[in-house]
Amino acid sequence: MKKLTRAAVLATATALALAACAAAPEDEETTEPGAEETAGETVDYTACMVSDEGGFDDASFNQSGFEGLERAESELGIQVRTAESSDPGQYETNVDSMVQEGCNLIIGVGFALEDAIEMAAQANPDIDFALVDSAFSDADFNPVTYDNAKPLLFNTQEAAFLAGYLAAGHAVATDAEEPKVATYGGMPFPSVTIFMDGFYDGVMKYNEDSGTTVEVLGWDKEAQNGSMIGNFSDTEAGRATTETFIASGADVILPVAGPVGAGSLNAASQTEGVSVIWVDSDGYMQASNADTKQLILTSIIKQIGTAVFDTIATAADGGFDAAPYVGTLENGGVDIAPLHDFESTVDPALVTAVDDLREQIIAGDLVVESVSATPTE
């Protein structure tokens, strides 16, 4: 045992020592004065971001926001600071420490940070703030606006509507007898149910247009009630929920619970002819889905990263304005992803119908509503 330990220690030490043998880099500051600035001018502007309790590695909206911030750091040459919250008690202190650190723009990710951002915005009129996925409201839930706080909102229901229409059409194509689609969420947050509302309406629209009776499992828009697994992390619960749906005859599944969608992909891979719709970003492009990406019918994309980047870019140029950013189909803030592997299987007529609906929504002829959408007027 002792010998083994010694050998292990020696091996580790050798490995570490060998790893440390690289040549020292040339001293950049003296030999190449401009070396550090090749990536872009360094700008004296600090953008900061506070996550909600999901953390920046939540494979969901915190992560999307963080990617926008990272992009701003590398492309705009600004300074960034980040703070992750592990529970709601830290929102206020994290935002406050950002204020102390001299941030020019502080971005809170998630509706949970509304109060913290609101208080800091009132107390620090010289600092700009932004809030992802929520507008501001007073104690009686009436909307309020601040000159230095910008809400970043998304009409996710518009993109979810298209996905619902597509899913219904696809379900009819794969299972003409009993076409069914299903959805479940992580928790009944507005940012989750907005997907389910749009999806539900999209399916109903398809039924109306083509006289079918595609059924939606897992969400009732009228009652605002449906399947929730209770968190955004339990992939196993997502798999079990999806299996129940498949056993009830569902052909297309929409999991609205961030990384939990992987559980749905797993369950779908066990049954022929079941596909999944991913949320937030294009699930087909994610490395973690490499084995099951052929099951992803499409994804409902929400460009949080782009919204964050644009907000920082405008603010760093001195052009910050507090008018809400609303991601729509029109400005590309929300959309559905390409069909990738399904391009050859999905009926071109269905794709055309979806494209027509997109045009109608952009033109304002068709309005997709959800009680979860934040009113901006």
Binding site: A20, E84, S86, G89, D115, A139, D140, P188, F189
Partner: protein
């Protein structure tokens, strides 16, 4: 770990003929306080390795360590120094701030410690009575929900409102814990399992209530409205500090728990049951009744911890409002050797780590996980006194002088 300090083994008697100084040295070497302090120091040292390893500059310079070692050690020193100075600035005294903000960190530490003191005291009572109550998390959350309900529903005058909200929190917290006590007393159900399950039930129950008008009122989000300002704990030092009178109440609660455990008949029964259930039963103590009483006390204190979190700092309730208070408090109670004073000090230490973590993240770019690693390392080392003794230079010197460094205190 033992659940009680009433079973402390007597120190090994020193051989005859030793001087007073030597006895003193032996006493210091045996003291559990020394072990605790050494555990904290060792944990900070161990964590500094991680802080350095997590730093990108250190990683880059490590690749050419032999070519230019000064870069590596410089970067490592910078990373560790900036992380710990940020911790100090965030938790004790901010020498870079101006005016009253300089002393704000220490008050933030006190603020963060309040729910931990209450909850830790509740758990300490349980541990000394031989009950492993893992359910503080659920009791905190239920207490927080009860306080919020009173805070947002009723319209009451200043003092009455906050007192009533606290009472509601204590009653609900006590009843929630009482379920586990009753089940143990009546059916012998293991309190560890019952309380863990009650944590889940509390979490999902409160999550559900937050979607109803009971706690969310008119909002569409699972967050309660702000509690009326009449129900807030008044601030102690004006509006630029978040320190509230809940801190003083928490200290009074510590005194109360000390009196309960050390001076009252009920507390004696608690400790007797903790030391030996059968002996206590033989001595005529109604053990089952004690189980229920212990859980009621623990639950009331934990519920008060939840109330302090909402009425003192958060003002709104979310499903995650209890954070990790319930579990941190287990550590706090164990760290404090289940004694009131120890619990208060341990809660302050954890409060400091919590208050310092935002600045560690923003100013020194230390991952928040490192702060959690420091906490976990402290606990790990405290749980293993022989390891600390083996690592500590003081005990090494003691061994060279021929002192016994065997474990004398559990």
């Amino acid at each position: 770990m033992t659940t009680t300090d009433t079973l402390v083994a007597p120190s090994a008697q020193p051989p005859a003929g030793q001087t007073r100084e030597r006895n003193l040295l032996q006493e210091v070497l045996d003291s559990s306080w020394l072990v605790i302090i050494l555990a904290i120091v060792t944990a900070l040292v161990a964590s500094s390795v991680l802080i350095a390893a997590a730093n990108t500059e250190v990683q880059e310079s490590a690749a050419y360590l032999f070519a230019r070692p000064s870069d590596f050690f410089g970067a490592a020193w910078d990373a560790i120094y900036s992380a710990y100075s940020a911790l100090f600035r965030g938790a004790v005294f901010d020498y870079q701030a101006e005016g009253v903000r300089q002393i704000r960190p220490i008050t933030e530490t006190m603020v963060a410690s309040v729910p931990l003191i209450f909850t830790g005291l509740g758990l300490a009572v349980g541990f000394r009575s031989g009950l492993f109550n893992i359910g503080a998390q659920g009791q905190v959350l239920m207490g927080a929900a009860a306080a919020t309900y009173v805070g947002i529903t009723f319209d009451l005058p200043v003092v009455v409102h906050v007192v009533l909200a606290c009472l509601a929190a204590m009653v609900v917290g006590a009843l929630w814990a009482g379920i586990a006590g009753l089940l143990k007393a009546r059916t012998g159900a293991n309190e560890v399992i019952v309380t863990i399950m009650l944590n889940s039930i509390a979490l999902y129950l409160v999550s559900y209530l937050l979607t109803t008008t009971l706690l969310a009122q008119g909002g569409t989000r699972p967050i309660s409205p702000k509690v009326a300002d009449t129900a807030w704990f008044p601030r102690m030092l004006g509006d630029s500090f978040r320190l509230h009178w809940g801190f003083v109440v928490a200290l009074l609660a510590a005194v109360g728990v000390w009196w309960l455990m050390e001076r009252s008949v009920l507390g004696f029964q608690f400790r007797a049951v903790g030391a030996n259930q059968r002996a206590a039963r033989t001595a005529g103590i109604r053990v089952n009744l004690v189980f229920v009483a212990v859980m009621l006390t623990a639950g009331a204190l934990a519920g008060m911890g939840g109330a302090a979190q909402i009425l003192g700092t958060d003002k709104t309730l979310q499903a995650g409002s209890a954070g990790s208070i319930g579990f941190d408090a287990i550590t706090v109670a164990l760290l404090g050797r289940s004694k009131p004073l120890g619990t208060v000090l341990a809660a302050l230490l954890f409060g400091a780590l919590r208050a310092g973590s935002p600045l560690m993240q923003t100013s020194a770019a230390t991952p928040i996980d490192i702060v959690l690693v420091i906490q976990a390392s402290i606990v790990l080392l405290i749980a293993a006194p022989p390891l600390v003794r083996a690592l500590s230079p003081i005990h090494w010197i003691g061994r060279r002088l021929g002192r016994s460094t065997k474990e004398a205190v559990a």
